[in-house]
């Protein structure tokens, strides 16, 4: 193997042309060792980062425990705003969780090569985001200990869930999504876990990684079955990208509430989900890329492609923002018109509305400029705005629709309590906590796929 092979010539991603998706030269062994290095020696600040996020996670569980033992009254919820932070956070996290599957499965099916360096990142992010999201539908219930009543099981009470409601379907959609994402992520990991087993410095680690590698030996038959399975899983996962958030959108669309009762919600929610999900991948990837020195594995081409995705989904979201008030006006329904045309832009929560417009529609337009699309920190900044904007969008959607509905006698403001903020902040910490563990113990760049891509490219080059 030549260590002087000019990388620039090799690693082109044909569909996007031009920019390389892998700049790394060196031998396979060197690449393997470099990508496995974080597993063997913890980086200096890991302990502190884990400690801080661990404490934050403890705060989350304390707040949830307090809520379950005392009551939902600890939150800011009221009548009419019976749903608030919990459902905002649920939709936000589950939305974030969409990017992983989109990147892994959809881009796999479309054979988009640049996904390789980032897909495991994105999948892990998905898993951890869905985990956060999954907390909320359970803990927002007044009697969380009966959450299993939403699952269709043959109970001795002889009562099934009520299938006209979207909530039992939420349970199905989210659990399916989590299980498929987990299997997809794990099956992608198997060859790399085997590599880790083979390269691990101590016996204990060799044994541990060996257990999780499920006896992978890299045989041809293994690879053949593995390839087929991975593609089938990608095929299975792809519709889930659409179905999960479609079902989540039904939590709103099936009601008669002004601002919720809308048939545009499924595509709008899916686009918004991918929007925030890509933003989250970028928010995690850009610091990791800087910290671990992966600029030649996660290249500017990756950033450029991701930024373009942001621009596309950002415009879909913007389009929806335009269609909603138009439809409200077109319907001539006074309640819809009040909600969309008066209350949201000029009412008590108008700063949230205009914040959403600024973060989700205006800021992203900077990505039309190539200089922004290829600057990691500029994209990071944009992604932060998008994340804030997408959370605020769910706040606007849920709270403004509820706080002023049909009868003005029940109109009332909503203010979150400190428990609400603790739970929201706690999930961010818990998410980062899990992500740190992932970075520490799992090969977070798909080593085998990278090597395979390099070989393919070299063969093509030859």
């Amino acid at each position: 193997m030549s260590t002087t092979a000019p990388a620039l010539d090799l690693m082109h991603d044909e569909p996007t042309g031009g920019e390389p998706v892998l700049l790394r030269g060196g031998t396979d062994l060197e690449l393997t060792d470099e990508l496995l290095a974080p597993l063997w020696r913890p980086w200096p600040w890991f302990r502190y980062a884990l400690g801080v996020t661990g404490l934050g996670s403890l705060a989350l569980f304390a707040a949830l425990g307090y809520t379950v033992t005392t009551g939902i009254g600890l939150w800011g919820n009221n009548i009419p705003v019976a749903w608030a932070f919990a459902i905002i956070n649920f939709v936000w996290w589950i939305g974030i969780g969409h990017a992983g599957t989109f990147i892994s499965a959809v881009l796999l099916l479309f054979e988009v090569r640049w996904r390789t360096s980032i897909n495991r990142f994105a999948e892990a992010m998905t898993l951890f985001a869905v985990l956060q999201a999954g907390l909320f539908p359970i803990f927002h219930m007044g009697r969380a200990w009966f959450a299993y009543w939403l699952i269709p099981y043959p109970s001795e009470m002889g009562i099934w869930p009520q299938f006209r409601s979207s909530l039992p379907w939420d349970v199905v959609a989210v659990t399916t999504y989590f299980i498929v994402s987990l299997l997809f992520w794990y099956s992608g990991l198997i060859p790399d876990l085997a590599t880790a087993r083979d390269r691990a410095p101590t016996l204990l680690r060799r044994r541990l990684y060996g257990i999780f590698a499920l006896g992978w030996r890299g045989e041809l038959a293994h690879w053949r079955h593995y390839r087929i399975m991975y593609l089938v899983m990608g095929g299975l996962a792809t519709p889930l990208v659409l179905s999960v958030h479609t079902d989540v959108s039904f939590d709103f669309a099936i009601t008669q509430l002004p601002g919720w009762h809308s048939s545009i919600f499924p595509p709008y929610f899916v686009a918004g989900a991918i929007y925030s999900g890509f933003a989250m991948v970028l928010q995690l990837m850009i610091p990791a890329r800087a910290i671990f020195g992966l600029k030649d594995v996660i290249t500017k081409n990756h950033l450029d492609n991701m930024a373009k995705m942001l621009l596309v989904t950002g415009w879909i979201v913007t389009y929806t923002y335009l269609v909603e008030p138009f439809m409200a006006w077109w319907s001539n329904d006074q309640y819809e018109m009040y909600d969309q045309l008066i209350d949201r832009p000029t009412g008590s929560y108008a700063p949230v509305f205009w914040g959403v417009i600024f973060c989700n529609c205006i800021v992203v337009q900077a990505l039309w400029m190539k200089s922004w699309r290829t600057s990691a920190w500029r994209i990071f900044l944009v992604a932060c705005f998008i994340q804030l904007g997408m959370w605020s969008e769910r706040f606007m959607l849920i709270v403004t629709s509820l706080h002023r509905d049909f009868l003005p006698s029940s109109w009332r403001m909503y203010t979150p309590s400190w428990i609400d903020w603790t739970i929201l902040g706690g999930t961010v910490f818990f998410f980062l906590f899990l992500f740190l563990l992932f970075l520490r113990f799992v090969p977070f760049i798909p080593i085998s796929e990278l090597k395979e891509m390099r070989h393919e490219a070299r063969r093509r080059h030859a």
Binding site: G71, R143, F406, P408
Partner: protein, 934 residues
Amino acid sequence: MSNSVSRRVVLQLVGAGAAAVGTSACSRGPQELIVPYVNQPPEVTPSVPTWYATVASLSGYGVGILAESHEGRPTKLEGNPRHPASAGALSALEQASLLDVYDDTRARAIGHGELPTTWAAFASAIAAAPPSGKRTHVLLEPTSAPHLVELVQRLRARGDVVVHFDAAVSRRAAWVGAKLAFGRVVESLYDFSHAEVVLSLDADFLSGNSGALSWARAWASRRRMNGASDTMSRLYVAEPRLSVTGMAADERLRIQGRQVEGIAADILAELLSLKGGDDTPAPRRATPSPWVRAVARDLHGNAGASLVLAGDTQSPEVHALAHAMNESLGNVGRTVTYGVSPVFEAGEDSHELEGLVRAIDAGEVATLVVVGGDPVYTAPADLELARRFAAISTTAYVGVRDTRTARACAWTCPELHWLEAWSDALAFDGTPAIAQPLVRPLVDGRSAGQVLVAMIGQHDASSRDLVQAYWRAHATGDFDVFWRQSLVHGVVSTGTAPPVDVGVDWTAISRILAAPPRSAAPLEIAFFADAKMYDGRFGDNAWLQELPDPVTKLTWDNAALVSPATATRLDVDDEQVVNIEVRGRSVRAPVLVVPGMADDVVAIALGYGQDVPDRTSHGVGCNAHALRDSRAEWFDDATLHVTGDRHPLSLTQEHGSMEGRPIVLCHTLAEYRADPDFAKPMNQRPDSLYGLVPDAPHQWGMTIDLNACTGCSACVVACMAENNIPTVGKGGVRLGRAMHWLRLDRYYVGDPRDSGAVVQPMLCQHCEKAPCEYVCPVNATVHSHDGLNEMVYNRCVGTRFCSNNCAYKVRRFNFFNYNADKPESLALVMNPDVTVRARGVMEKCTYCVQRIREAEIVARRDQRPIADGEIVTACQQTCPTGAIHFGDIADPGTHVSRSRESGRLYAVLNDLGTLPRTRYLARIVNPNPDLHRT
């Protein structure tokens, strides 16, 4: 030794002693419930309630009550249909006073200073003969109770006892006004059912005391519009603040309280000049206001079929003018008659506190015994009763609550709640009734009669003995029959008293008319008896504290109420704390802007700001009694100083405008006559692909007549008592978590500078296509075959999706375990027929499903169909105006079905296609066209 105590006897004694200690520790509850019946009393069937008639009185006016008792504990109070002051209805105050029996912070034991003492010691302390030159003074609340009146007379016969009567909210002005007009005190008895035009001079006759329930019923009977050809009465109201009666007005004049007298004089002068004749006085003003002229013309045009009332807070002169107007219009004998006041010594000097104050200052008071009330807290501030009480050598207080007066007195004795003792009372029209106790006393207390008779030297009389002794002496015929019949009926049949014949003294009236009109004050303070606290006596009642004020929707507080224009002028806003200064005394209060208030008036409710620690009333609101002066009890000049502080107010309704939405349909009589079916478009079933399959023989439905509903809020308390609705406290209400299943929405309507208000009871609409049902993930809210939207508490997991999708927002969520932090004694007030809901579940109006099912069971047992009117919901039962109809809408013959044929019938938010079972009859107002010509 043969007589030594054996081991067996010792063990028996030890065991008996332990049992005695055990039972004595249970004095909190009704003890007879602790052991099950060995021989069940024949009249008690466990789980089947028994009903007893009794009577409650407020400021001396009795209201007949039927009390529901479950195995010895009263759980709900309803009006006694046989009693003239009730006619089956009951106000929020009387219903909620049930809760006070179970208040575990009420006065419990007899004490002297800090130490417990005995009834015998207490009785001998108050009965002791005063040293020569001094006297024993007794301060009672105004009373009509015949047995008490007799005891007062016997007490006075002792020679060294002076008895006074005092109430912070009294009808003194009305009595003095009658004296002024007629030369003697009489009680006005109104007949609204024959009044075409009613003029209220600041009289809140629809929600006040004495005869309000029966008056509201009669007034509403002239407001029911079954068809366009029906006629309805017209109500004029001149008042400083927006009252319940003001919300019902067809024409309303916002005016400072002390200007009402001028308006009354103007109207009388105008009436007299319209009438003509020799003794027509000169007009008071060159040009009376258009309002005055229009009212006078309308009254004149309906002479003999009109009615003028003056409010209890107005001056005696206004009452005299009202009497003069009624006489001049020929209303006497038609819409108004006069009777003897049921209140003992009404309008006499014994009803003034000045006599007591003078006696204390002169050092003539050896012993002061205060029975009931809380004069140290409620008396005008300039009387400084707390300081004066300290100068008396022996002071004693007998009261239900632990009050500021109790703290100012050396001897204290708990008074029995009226549900714990025998008593009697007269209704506003003089009808007597006997009060029988519903529960064995929960405290070591005595009734007022027992205290008075102890002062005559009789320590051991029971309240039953005293009441029976009186009636034994006064009953005709066989006493046992009389006694039994009086208790069963809840009224003593004495035959109606003949009306008192009185004539107006026109020279006195001329003097009033000749007085120059008073000029308006820059800012007037108007005090008023709170709709919930009254004078403060209900301060520890959580049901009433949490009951929204009928007009402002304020809970757990009072506030300085000002009109929007005055708020702008004074540069104040909601929740801003102001310092109100009256005659050098000041109180800090938060501002609440109320459209419909008169300009340059600040109104403040009495009864708040009590400061006895550890009580529900502690620290709730500000004490307006501290601003009152004995020379100006109801209206005074005031100045307002804005402070930088803010005080959060808990309102159950924060938005007062209907935003142009068709929620409360309101038409004028002329519009209604032109288009009697105007509500039809909002009563039609929108096109739907789905059919309806009601498949049970009965289909329950409700109709609410917005023309009869006054917003008095009695139904809200009835619902709370019937359905075990918890209170959530000030913080909970502020967060939007009040649990009331039935709320009264109040919308301000009309010109924002001169608003009126409309009221709409809002409760579960029992939609046939209920939006809540299809979003529940666990089938916890489902539809019954007889058309009820049912809530299955056991199945609810608390996703709150149903509340989000409810267009009427009538669902209530148990955010906390609201019953957990309540005293155990409050468990006794719970209705055993209704589940007490747990934390985390949704709840809402059930149409009192427990009453429906009970009627079904009884009908099935008797093998007969359910009769129309057999099922009465709690709100319907207590509604004084009969605004609520409930029954089977599948049977065209029922009352509710007939009400649904009205052209006024509509469904709120009909366009949503929810097909609510609760329908409303649109409100019709009857403004005077003369006042609306442009």
